[in-house]
Symmetry: C2
Subunit: 255 residues, 2 copies
């Protein structure tokens, strides 16, 4: 294996499982810190702020700072800033998206917005969805923080942001630009923040269909860890294999 100068690391299934600790995760991160290897946590979650996510990691004894949390909301804000920093935005989303967009100083609008962003919003209303559809039909660019179809909860699988994205796409017949994994925009934006080269960076995650696929598509080496969604058995059926496969993060031989 190669020595990597940068790590992009998934959260759920990799650093913890829902509200459950993954024992090896804390030491993995402490080893990166000891070796002075830069890393970012890359999450499709758009609802929380970096401070909230770092707090959750700390509660699992994982040393994480807010500036090491790269959410799909931050990726979206950075992407829009490159596209058009004067864009007037209409967004559907929670605090994570709101804070990320505000930090970039964007202006906001409704039916006459230049860009519509949809992120998960458990307070979504018909009126918000109607404004989004009208703005997109009026010509606004259509962005979605992530295409996740469902979210696991104790009650069962509830609709993810991808389902609301699909609603707007179906109604407007306009294809969204999706920011989150397995799409590459979040990876490209994370690399810019991390500052390492593509060939020196590895993507670490538990979910082939999001983490590993995003890494492969972005031209990164990938490390799958079987503590979450994708099992060893499932991996066999994919044409493109991850660069590395381990059962848990303690197995990773840092070089």
């Amino acid at each position: 294996m190669r020595k990597y100068k940068g790590y992009l690391i998934d959260l759920d299934g990799t650093m913890y499982r829902g509200s459950e600790k993954i024992e090896e995760a804390g030491n993995f991160i402490r080893e990166l810190i000891r070796l002075e290897i830069p890393f970012l946590f890359v999450t499709n979650n758009s609802t929380r702020t970096p401070e909230q996510v770092a707090g959750k990691l700390q509660s699992f004894d994982i040393p994480a700072l807010p500036e090491q949390i790269f959410t799909s909301s931050i990726a979206t804000a950075n992407y829009i800033y490159e596209l058009d920093k004067d864009a007037r935005i209409f967004y559907i989303g929670e605090e994570g998206l709101q804070v990320a967009l505000n930090e970039k100083g964007f202006r906001f609008a409704k039916e006459d917005a230049d860009i519509v962003v949809i992120g998960l919003d458990t307070k979504v209303t018909y009126e918000k969805l109607a404004i989004a559809c009208i703005a997109i039909r009026n010509g606004a660019k259509f962005l979605s923080t992530n295409g996740d179809l469902a979210i696991p909860t104790e009650r069962g699988l509830v609709p993810g942001n991808g389902a609301f994205t699909q609603l707007i796409q179906f109604s407007t017949r306009v294809e969204p630009t999706i920011i989150g994994k397995p799409e590459t925009i979040i990876m490209d934006q994370a690399l810019k923040v991390l500052g390492t080269k593509r060939e020196e960076t590895v993507m670490v995650g538990d979910n082939y269909d999001t983490d590993i696929l995003a890494g492969i598509r972005a031209g990164l080496d990938t490390l799958i860890v079987h503590t979450g969604v994708t099992t060893k058995e499932m991996i066999k059926h994919y044409e493109k294999q991850p660069t590395y496969s381990i059962d848990n993060l303690a197995e990773w031989p840092f070089l």
Copy 2:
């Protein structure tokens, strides 16, 4: 042309255009009444009660009784009643659906419902959509009153019930049974209420993709009237033509 013993008649674009009167519509209906030919108004709208719809038609000087209004909500309730009159239902929808389900005496449930029905609900919440998704993943049958992708309003096109249906379908990966036009369930249910034979009944409407297609699929003769969505020019591109085509309802020679 044949002499028809029963008429199924669309509303928007056929009897009126949004909030605008269609001049020939009132006389068309008065002629059906004079000739004692039974008819039903068949609408994908699930939000209003028959009384509300009849009131709107009367405001355009069209003689209509509540029992002549056949909404997708009534079709849904009748369909479920045939399927399983003891079914426990979870529904998302407005007054039209609520009243139609209550009139059949159904019981209601949440995550453990036997049947989930989605109709347009401008007060929809994330919680309602979450319950629908969980119930469907738990095995509930998934019904949708109609697949309309958008609804015209003065502000522009806003999401229709088909868009919310798509959200649930995408998130659960379960295909819905759609009741409304151009699907045939609403036509079959309307024929049962009207009481005429398929070959003696004609479907009248302005929209090829909903009204005429529903009629063709249900094995009825069809009459397209170019006072709404589908123009003469557009009709040429369809493989299956309507049985009759007229510019306005005054041209129809009742036999």
